[in-house]
Symmetry: C2
Subunit: 416 residues, 2 copies
């Protein structure tokens, strides 16, 4: 297998997951993660050449007047009123949307290439795959070779800091079946997705300028997912995101006050309280946090002290795949239209891991925050004035009611 | 006119707006703000009695087993990981929804009562009105007489602070016409809405336990507005909302560093830069902030140093009504389906005013933050993983592009 800068496969991955790197026609990084024995054994090999006639992605472009202008790299500006960096990526306006009422494209760029198909939006060079990871074609953050990353000011005014949004955006396809739901994937395939999270975390951690690696999954047209194919993303911010900054401030203050790890103590307090714990296995605990803000919210914490996804050992990765599978299945059963069949739950699964360089990282702890906007079979929670305007979340339910529904759906102990 | 604890009408309101307080059948405060000369002159008087047989709102209730239990007051819990208070109001699950796919009711509770109509969801006792303000029947925060407001802990664990969500939620109906859009109201009626904002800010400022008064307007089914009738709300938090806390931290640090007012200096910097200023009149400046995070975002700042809405003088209130009217009209013209007619824009208009007791209030400054989720005639910006999970906003446009579109729609100087 290929050698990587920082990623070292554990015993399972070394034997059962083969990672093959390649480069797309426009210069983007691309990785096959194969769990199919034929590819792992080397009996079959990957077609690595991207047949599309794509221009180098950072090449000069033509403007409306037909003149050649430099690649329009996303920039970011710091909001002086909140301190938040806001990446601005005008090129994303033209990205293809294949799901929902605003659909602008009919092909599925995440599908494997059909033999002989010249369609330029198929991102996978080969005609099949298991799991793939690649750089987003329409990134909201990207490092551009040779482009300055120095801070300057909008209109020359020091109130308005500006710099290149020199982060990284990757896409992870969970499975080649475009109609499959992540909840229905075999645990073995989800195990490969977990390996992809660990692999990318390890590798991206060594890249210059990245401060936080954020693997997440958006699922469901109701929350604006523009491609229905089962996939997740990895946003790599060149700053600490505001929510993570708030969490780091609190975990650090807690450490200074008590010497303890806040996230560990919250997990243990939830175990002690018991009522809001919804699932457990050998390596993980899932609970509805005592101050949940969403109509459906579950946090998943590792039993062992772990900072980042690449620190998980083999058993923890398997147990996570199992926990994630069960969580998604129960999420789909959570709301009932009255026919007992549940429904495809729109959700966001957000990985919070220790930042890369920030000195407070040692007092943080890996956790998954899983939540849904759905608040009933026929109702969505919208982020209106209080949430969007003041960041003040209002819940219409209680953590105990959410947990009670999970308890109806299955046992807490999900070990085999 | 009635006497109030803190509100003092200016010369215009004293002559042209009559405020009549009353109490709804369940005990909630209700106020008529009349600008109709017949009511202002006293030629006509208001029917004050609410004919509905509603129980006292804080009366004991029957649980599922038919037992009498105390009123289920909304509580709030502090998230130990972020420090945010999360109000939890289970009673809101049953509120009527008359707009959109999840509609559960057919009547319009914000309409005036029809003569002889026993419908219990009509909140206005009289058969007509101009502007009315009343306490929300399904509040996410409310003070309950006799109920302790002391902090205790969920499951007895000091990690999880909990207390009564002893705030206040009010509704402002802008006009009796349920099919009217705020953008189409006469400036004179919007002037009465401005008076309602000032009136409520003055009065609620003296109420015990309220820390921040947040008048806002949610408009459009796309953002989950459950009642289509033109109306706004006033959320009165018993805490400083997270976004306001972030802004106060930055305005205070700026004052300590420079002796200046950050919000004033931002306004002046926008005036100096010029490119993003989209409207001006004698008292107000509207600009797209240099680090705008929404696909359409405009901030409106008073020229004079003003902390809160009730500090605005008569001319400022008139100029605000005019600015608000023009802003809403241009908002509706902003996105074009190709027929040049524009569209009913979904938007949030959020008033940021100095908090009531916080010592940093003097270095803050009143401002309106107006924004929309719409990013094209057929596209909505959803708050997905990055925004909802990490509070990291990604913009697909630039402030200069937003401002350019406003410039196409009309002159910057909107004085008559």
């Amino acid at each position: 297998m290929a050698e990587f800068a920082n990623y070292v496969p554990g015993p399972y991955a070394a034997e059962h997951i083969r990672i093959t790197p390649t480069t797309l026609a426009d210069g983007r990084d691309f990785f096959y993660l194969d769990d199919d024995p034929e590819y792992v054994s080397g009996a079959k090999t990957r077609e690595l050449e991207d047949p599309r006639p794509l221009a180098y992605r950072f090449a000069n472009q033509l403007n409306a007047a037909g003149e050649e202008v430099p690649y329009a790299a996303p920039e970011m500006r710091r909001d002086p009123l909140t301190g938040d960096w806001i990446p601005m990526a005008t090129a994303r306006m033209n990205r293809p949307i294949t799901a929902g009422p605003g659909a602008t494209a009919t092909g599925n760029p995440l599908a494997a290439r059909k033999p002989g198909d010249p369609y330029q939006d198929n991102e996978v060079p080969d005609t099949d795959y298991n799991v793939v990871v690649f750089e987003n074609r329409f990134p909201s953050m990207v490092r551009v070779p040779g482009r300055s990353e120095a801070v300057d000011y909008v209109d020359g005014n020091p109130l308005w800091e500006r710099r290149l949004a020199a982060g990284r955006c990757e896409v992870i396809c969970f499975d080649p079946d475009e109609n499959g739901l992540p909840a229905d994937l075999p645990v073995r395939r989800l195990r490969t997705v977990v390996e992809a999270w660990a692999f990318r975390t390890a590798e991206i951690s060594t890249m210059e300028g990245i401060e936080q690696i954020f693997p997440f999954e958006n699922h469901g047209q109701e929350i604006g997912v523009s491609l229905a194919h089962p996939h997740g993303q990895v946003y790599c911010y060149p700053f600490i995101a505001p929510k993570m900054e708030s969490e780091l401030k609190h975990t650090e203050a807690y450490f200074e006050r008590t010497g303890g790890n806040l996230l560990k103590d919250i997990m243990n307090a939830e175990i002690e309280a018991g009522e809001r714990v919804v699932m457990r296995n050998h390596s993980w605990v899932a609970y509805v946090p005592a101050a949940a803000r969403w109509p459906l919210e579950v946090h998943v914490a590792p039993v062992r002290d772990v900072l980042t996804l690449d620190q998980l050992d083999d058993q923890e990765r398997w147990d996570l795949a199992q926990m994630y599978s069960t969580l998604l299945k129960r999420g789909n059963a959570f709301f009932d239209k009255g026919d007992g069949k549940g429904m495809d739950l729109p959700y966001i699964a957000a990985w919070h891991q220790a930042p890369i360089h920030d000195a407070r990282r040692e007092h943080y702890r890996l956790n998954l925050q899983f939540f849904s906007f759905r608040r009933a079979a026929n109702k969505i929670k919208y982020l209106a004035g209080s949430e969007s305007g003041m960041a003040a979340w209002i819940s219409d339910t209680t953590p105990e009611l959410i947990a009670r529904r999970f308890h109806e759906l299955g046992p807490i102990d999900i070990d085999d």
